[in-house]
Symmetry: D2
Subunit: 332 residues, 4 copies
């Protein structure tokens, strides 16, 4: 449920305002150079502070509890934890009875019978993706020399992203965006035909990232308006390279040697300073709601590095699986 | 890899022109009324014959090998098989060295070292979805009284679907489309927060269906252009019903009591009668390619019932999981 | 639940007197020579007919539905089915209310709310191991040149097995036995440290075989009476060979290069011709019970080939997993 | 690989002399009262200090990082960690080239290409079972009012256990033992017929505990010498209670309402003070070996609470699974 992968298994845990959050990675090959420092670059990319992101400043310093010895992975499970230092639980206490629209407050209260940690979004906080980013660093090393790189295509429907953020700040509203990820250098043959397609595994990982409501591969939704003669990517060499890449590097669920390309839609941060209304569970009627505290104006700004991590984790696992099964029997 | 689900586990098998195809469903509750007849309605919805679909006529008659006794599921695994009767393997034999653009011919040859069954697309054929549809019938019974219903929104960018098909027939080309699925009546609380979100599980199942290149939930890609005050779905009653449904019935990955709504992009059938080119593996150069034989002009026409099945399978599994874990401890 | 394995995944189905039984094997490498004939030798070893086994004669003819093409595995899932031809359901109908001691009649009735197929033991019949034996043939090919061979050590406490069977026939009672399996040629390094040890995986597979109540590796229960200086197997060469094999070829859950050796205890067939008693569910009191029909006097006689299959399946999976994870990173 | 369970999923990590060890438990129901104090009793039972156990004194103080809020489980994953305080890495450094007989030194070096953390046994240390014991406390709460209790039956073949330990101390050798676990109050119906039998799941968990070489249920190996009329447990009431319990509370892999009883064989601690020999990897020849440092004389003394934990984890998971699948459909 909170676990992903067949061989490269990641198991995520933590709540926004609890003692700490983290991830356990089982099935990582031994012998990969790894230190805390290796994790910092991607973690800082995810960090708060840029215009449009929350002023909450976490140290975000990872501690590697296990699985690394003499600067290399040991082959045993890798546990990485992060302490929660800068929490303001009082900001959230009154929200228990007033579930914020667009958040998981209502569903988690119902699902867990009111026992959920509701402070700061609890286990549903975007902060949980810290562990995902850390695992992504390791997954990228496994995939190397293949590379995953994500970038923001548009924010609030605009390609001038600064302007979009400024407009949102003025209106005290939040904005969404579109982020694209390109993975270069993946060999032909990753992915399993049914239930384990490259699209299945990437989308499963990606839809764990809060606020994502759509994903498309290659030409994506535009394929629905293409004819076959336009959409088909004609193969031009023995490595599978093609004239076009409408299929986003994937045929029949299997990587085809071209770039794996996908885009996601990120919804605007549900926490906004504007007055809203919600159903009061205590009073059993709709009441006005004002959300105070620190929030991102635009979560999409933080998504690129998390998207890379999700893609890398899915592909690293498929890569380890594909080398074994199904594959050609070398035999007796 | 070819298996889906935590409790309601489906394991799919078969090749288009082999002895047969089918599915094994483990973890199905006992006591569900089930007969071969129950499967026929959805199977006939998937069947060939409508304008724009292939003239190949399979009987598509299911046989239940196990797991049903005295008209009810027994609790033991249910195996359902379909014989392949109407195969024309000779149509495909020359394609081994000429991988068809847009198909899995090239990737499966590389992945399996040339041992793949390439006739009729082998394990990558759309015919494999027969098993999915059969499992979907059972999943729908588990979800009942909730219902899943899919419909075609557009074909080739047009809402007049007959016109779109006729245009494609004239041009000897194929067309794609968009299909929407709505699931009504799902209670609050299905889905697991990380890696097991409703979006994760549905998209993982859906991307197993050949030809799908994108999925979006609720307002989908349109959320990227909304502000938070527009996108947030304000809760208006104790059951979680909301004024709008931009989140497609899902918050934080958990069902929120509103309709679960998602759309998929279906690419045009890659097999077209128009002349194409591909890389000849034998000659090691680009050569012209003409595909003969029977094909769908528009796979999207067959997708609705398969989409319902994929959604039902994912939700039935989440439903069985959610009743136990995490849930409220009734305890000692 | 009815599925085993991480990469080499087997999913078993069927009831003794239903339409058929079988197995689906996902994750099998492509390119392994395989035909129906390859399966027959081990299937015939399991077959009824020897002294002490049931006179029920099944054809036990397997049909490979998928996953094999031109005499080799394709890399797609392999489905193998067996028809049930020689069933006598009437033998069993009166047993629904009179659960046979030592059988699963009572527990399956309770577990499945009376919907279980109780004829011939249903899904709990020893006949279900047919699929296991078929999968075992394929697993043995994956493990080759390593070999698995099982033999009966004793029946009814006696090493003269014919004498033990004759005594049981005279007394109209049944007898148990001990079977030992030795796997030669497994390289160092199979098995995963926690929850995936060689002992964990073999025992998990083996305890699926009906009637087995104990398993021990190497010196087994005798280690509890050894001192460390006796029990330790001193390593004598660079391949890990040791002077003794008290650890049964496994240290810390990982194969150590010596023979993997284990023994199982098989209970006597619970169906006996002698009068017994049981609790009548209908009458809600203890009543006399007489079991008619055909039964093995000694199931242990059929166990060796099934035991080999279980061990081969577990080890083939560990073998495919171990080559990837954890293993040494070859790097960029 | 280092993960166990379908619903109640435990994922274990850590090395003996690394920063810390721990466990993540996913799928735990919400609302279970839980605090650090609840863990201490079983952790202290496992702790060193009794005669025959190592003088190394770990604080063994658990920290709950996540999944608990206001004194109850939240339904989100529970992470529990333990710091390693009292490590003496220098004791072990010379052992890298001299794999200790009976330990995992040799296999882990080969398996992980020399990247394994070999200090203190690394990931193969018995210390890793701390996490298992912590998870066991939670599993016991789920199973409550059912109870699991293990006890030592014999040490070094003797029932006078003090005498056995004294003899071992005098001879500077180590001794093994037999431990029995009884689980009372498990309802009828836990366990899944194939690959998920109660015996399969318990043995899989139990064989993760270092030093265990055999397991038997009910009468165990003694059934091999029984006749069916003796071995069969005659049912005497509607709850499935029987006159005898030779099947150890399990029929056909399913719990039958009687006590679940099993015994394990624990080998003597492989680390002994007596001189031994092993193969020097550096010198490529057999050399004398003397092991210094702190060790248990008899690991079996610490096994009971770990055995209870392993059984409780397996049964808690089966309990959560069984309530859903297969089970009786309540239906539309």
């Amino acid at each position: 449920m909170n676990t992903f992968g067949t061989i490269f298994k990641t198991s995520i845990f933590g709540e926004s305002h609890g003692n700490g959050i983290g991830i356990v990675i089982d099935g990582c090959p031994s012998g990969i150079p790894l230190s805390t420092d290796d994790l910092l670059h991607d973690l800082s990319r995810r960090k708060a502070g840029a215009k449009g992101t929350t002023p909450r400043k976490e140290d975000d310093l990872p501690e590697i509890l296990s699985g690394v010895f003499n600067g290399h992975t040991t082959g045993a499970p890798i546990a990485i934890i992060f302490r929660n230092n800068n929490t303001k639980s009082k900001d959230y206490s009154q929200l228990f009875d007033h579930p914020r629209p667009g958040h998981a407050d209502f569903v988690s209260r119902v699902k867990y019978g009111g026992f959920n940690d509701y402070t700061g979004g609890g286990h549903f906080s975007g902060r949980i993706t810290l562990g995902l980013v850390a695992a992504g660093v390791i997954a990228k090393k496994i995939l190397s020399p293949a590379t995953a790189a994500a970038r923001i295509l548009e924010i609030g429907g605009m390609t001038d992203i600064d302007k979009a953020i400024e407009a949102a700040q003025l209106s005290k509203d939040s904005v969404g965006g579109i982020v694209e990820c390109t993975v270069k250098g993946i060999p032909v043959g990753l992915g399993e035909p049914f239930f384990g397609s490259v699209e299945s595994e990437i989308s499963r990982a990606v839809f764990s990232i809060p606020a994502i409501k759509g994903i498309e591969f290659g030409a994506g939704f535009a394929v629905s308006r293409m004819t076959g003669s336009v959409c088909n990517d004609n193969i031009i060499d023995a490595d599978g390279h093609a004239e076009t890449n409408n299929n986003g590097g994937i045929n029949g669920g299997i990587s085809n040697g071209n770039d794996i390309v996908f885009r996601v839609a990120v919804k605007p941060t549900p926490s906004i300073s504007l007055p809203q209304s919600t159903f009061s569970i205590k009073e059993q009627k709709v009441e006005p709601l004002t959300i105070t505290g620190r929030h991102d104006l635009c979560i999409a700004l933080r998504v690129p590095v998390v998207l890379e991590a999700a893609a890398a984790i899915a592909l690293a696992d498929l890569s380890l699986v594909a080398q074994q099964s199904p594959r050609v029997f070398k035999g007796a």
